[in-house]
């Protein structure tokens, strides 16, 4: 119970930081909504951790629900890194093409 309260307090802190960033306009509304939903889902998972544990056992997994959430989170992070890498490669190519074109025009 105490761990759940600590985890929820941390999530409240993240949501507050998120709100501050949105108000300062460092992130746009779409990004704000995405992360807000993300943290709200995370809060729900923490609140309903016991039923999730039961669900995981019913599905035949030996580990607890929190472990499963971490595995899914790590996979999700890997996916995000890969997407970022793709975006960076494209940006680097665009910058190179642009710079080369300008260099050769001079």
């Amino acid at each position: 119970m105490i761990q759940q309260i600590i985890a929820l307090l941390i999530l409240v802190f993240f949501v507050l930081k998120l709100t501050v960033q949105w108000r300062k306009k460092t992130i746009n509304i779409n990004e704000f909504i995405f992360w807000l939903i993300f943290w709200l889902v995370a809060s729900l998972l923490i609140i309903f951790i016991k039923p999730i544990d039961q669900l995981v056992i019913n599905m035949g997994f030996s580990s607890s629900g929190i472990n499963l959430i971490f595995y899914v989170a790590v996979l999700f992070l890997f996916y995000l890194i890969f997407k970022m890498r793709l975006k960076m490669v494209k940006m680097e190519k665009d910058i190179t093409d642009l710079r080369r074109e300008l260099t050769l025009k001079k």
Binding site: R85, L86, V89, E92, K93, I95, T96, R99, R100, L102, T103, L104, K106
Partner: protein
């Protein structure tokens, strides 16, 4: 045959003038690509360009894009200005300009598409031991296993190509993996490749062990991302 030489240069103010003056004796036109040097490389190259404007063109990247990108910029300039043979040469003075005729001869007389300078053939280069015995053999194994490259010196930066070859081999890797990329594409296009012995004078260590990992990382991502 109109022979162009492309020299990518980044912070080479100590060597650039000597390199340009030596290379100029063996080629018809010289393209220097300053890759946003923070020293006087650009100014020194431009001084020589003013004195030999009919034979030298200095291009400048306002941001540092790295050696592969600088070479491709030079190649595109050479293609657009009537080059028939294009030589890649380093600005740091490690290669000998006197060996340029040796590297272009197979293109002219034997109809090769790509000629590579190799540090591991007959001539003796004073290669640092760790590099010669550890880094280079590992690089050779890697290049053979993943790209089918069988040359004795896949990381050599001294090469000559016909303009048709340069048009086919567009360097997409901005960084140091361009050597492997050029060879992989040459093998892919089934081009006629020859190696000639060259001498390398090591003023600096050059590519370090962890630099090799960066090359592998660049090639790996290029392979999966495309």
């Amino acid at each position: 045959m109109k022979i162009f030489c492309v020299i990518p240069a980044w912070n080479e103010s100590h060597n650039i003038i000597e390199t340009i003056q030596k290379v100029l004796n063996y080629v018809d036109f010289l393209v220097i690509v300053d890759d946003c040097s923070s020293d006087d490389t650009l100014i020194k190259a431009q001084e020589l360009e003013s004195a030999h404007s009919e034979k030298i063109k200095v291009l400048h990247h306002p941001i540092n894009l790295d050696q592969g990108a600088a070479l491709q910029t030079g190649h595109e300039y050479a293609i657009n200005h009537g080059a028939e043979i294009i030589i890649d040469f380093d600005a740091d003075g490690q290669f000998l300009a006197e060996e340029i005729p040796d590297i272009i001869e197979p293109l002219i007389k034997e109809d090769y598409d790509l000629v590579l300078g190799s540090r591991f053939l007959e001539k003796k280069s004073d290669i640092p031991k760790f590099k010669k015995n550890i880094i280079m053999p590992l690089a050779k194994i890697f290049n053979f296993v993943f790209f089918g490259i069988k040359t004795s010196d896949p990381q050599s930066g001294f090469r000559a190509m016909t303009v048709e070859t340069v048009k086919k081999i567009v360097i997409e890797n901005n960084h140091m993996a361009h050597c492997t990329e050029i060879l992989a594409k040459a093998y892919n296009y089934k081009l006629k490749i020859k190696e000639v012995p060259i001498t390398v004078i090591y003023k600096r260590y050059g590519q370090k062990f962890f630099g090799g990992f960066k090359i592998i990382k660049d090639l790996f991502f290029k392979k999966i991302i495309g």
